[in-house]
């Protein structure tokens, strides 16, 4: 009798299993077709830093105080500015990030008084050389227009 019980419960379990898989078969697919579509990153995601666009002037908000450069423990950031005729304060002329050394600690973002830098949402990065990861953020901001 135990033999038949085992047979019955065994067969039944097979059909239950098949029932589960056929239900999954008709459910919508959950995979993301990666190169064609990609996820939007969450608000607190930390990509490499980028310059924040100043909505009034259309340029950057940087005052070239050099705080981020000093705050960076790895020395990734190189910034430079110059004095221009008729413009108050300094104008940013160079802002380079060496992402190969960056550990995404966020000290630069934290130290920035005018909130001129922020974490970008770029995550699908790949490049043929080390130099591909030395970003000219000023140029990047201009290109994003």
């Amino acid at each position: 009798m135990a033999y038949f019980n085992e047979l019955y419960s065994g067969t039944k379990s097979l059909f239950i299993g098949m029932g589960i898989t056929i239900k999954e078969f008709f459910k919508p697919v959950v995979t993301l077709q990666y190169p064609h579509e990609s996820l939007t990153m969450t608000a607190r995601f930390r990509g490499h830093i980028e310059l924040v666009r100043d909505l009034e002037s259309g340029g950057n908000k940087c005052i070239v105080c050099g705080m981020c450069q000093k705050a960076c423990p790895s020395g990734c950031i190189t910034g430079n500015g110059e004095k221009r005729e008729g413009v108050k304060g300094k104008v940013l002329t160079e802002y380079t990030l060496d992402f190969t050394k960056c550990s995404l600690c966020g000290m630069c973002v934290e130290s920035c008084k005018p909130a001129a830098i922020q974490f970008s949402k770029d995550y699908n990065l790949a490049g043929p050389s080390r130099e591909a990861y030395i970003y000219d953020l000023l140029k990047r901001l201009e290109e994003q227009k």
């Binding site: 047979l7 067969t11 097979l14 299993g17 098949m18 589960i20 898989t21 056929i22 999954e24 078969f25 459910k27 919508p28 697919v29 959950v30 995979t31 077709q33």
Partner: protein, 331 residues
Amino acid sequence: MTTELIRLLAFLVGIIAFAALNAAYLVWVERKGAAHFQRRIGPKEVGPYGLLQPLADGAKLMSKQLLIPDGVDPILFKIAPLMVLVPAVMSFVTIPFGEHLAARNIDLGLLMVFAFASINVLGLLLGSWGSANKYAVIAAARVISQNIAYEIPMLLTAIALVMATNTMNLNEMVSLQGGGFWHWNLIKLTFTASPLTPIAFLIFFTTMLAETNRAPFDMAEAESELVAGSFTEYSGMGFGVFFMGEYANIVIGAALTTVLFLGGWQSPLPFLPNSVVWFLMKMYVIIFTVVWIRWTFPRTQFYALLNLSWKVLIPISLVNLIVTAGWLKVF
């Protein structure tokens, strides 16, 4: 004479085309099925819905080098893939796709299909032995013992069916199942021959899976334990032919199940015309079920596999045989 020759050629070309097309597109069905059971999309890049994927796969397999390693038996190694594919294609000769659509309406059609079905295993054995690879030899030993174990219940259920229908001619067997789905052997024999017929159907289906070396009975391949089992040393089209043979065998198994239990080309309702479409529909439902089973159950342990056959399937199919005999005698 000439019409006979043309007929022969037409069926030869037709059968080979049908077998090859099925082998190619069942891979697509398999991959799509697997994907959707796991809630993925599956092949989608090559052509619409990935429909050109089999062609790409074929081109790839054909362009690969057919490597013959040192130490293999050169004759057996080359013959083996054909020994898996050719019998499967041969079996198509007697399968009645439609009322008048069969290459040869042989009186011993069922016997012929079974006879050719067992050559497939011989091919796997010779290929494995010829490739002089320990994994392949282990796989061969498994396939043989599995095949011996599963051929018996398969034949026993088939014998019970033959006793009840009194014919081995596949087309005649289908003709006897005409007039609606309640005349199909699956249901009809439950009343006239043996109340165990649905169970016989399950046994037949299970053994069909085992005979075609499909998951969860794919001991011949068992990639997680035996690299690729019998196919370990095969590359390029050698493997491709094995693969085609495997899928052709699945088509044969599904076609046979359709003919024996599900009324072949007979329509399920009496007012609908009989046609080859019904046959194909039933066959592909069975094939889909085979794919469905593959992506539902894990591979059984080898001992469990033999236990299932010797302790469950064979006793029950014997009981089915005796009950059928008794039923026929009494009623």
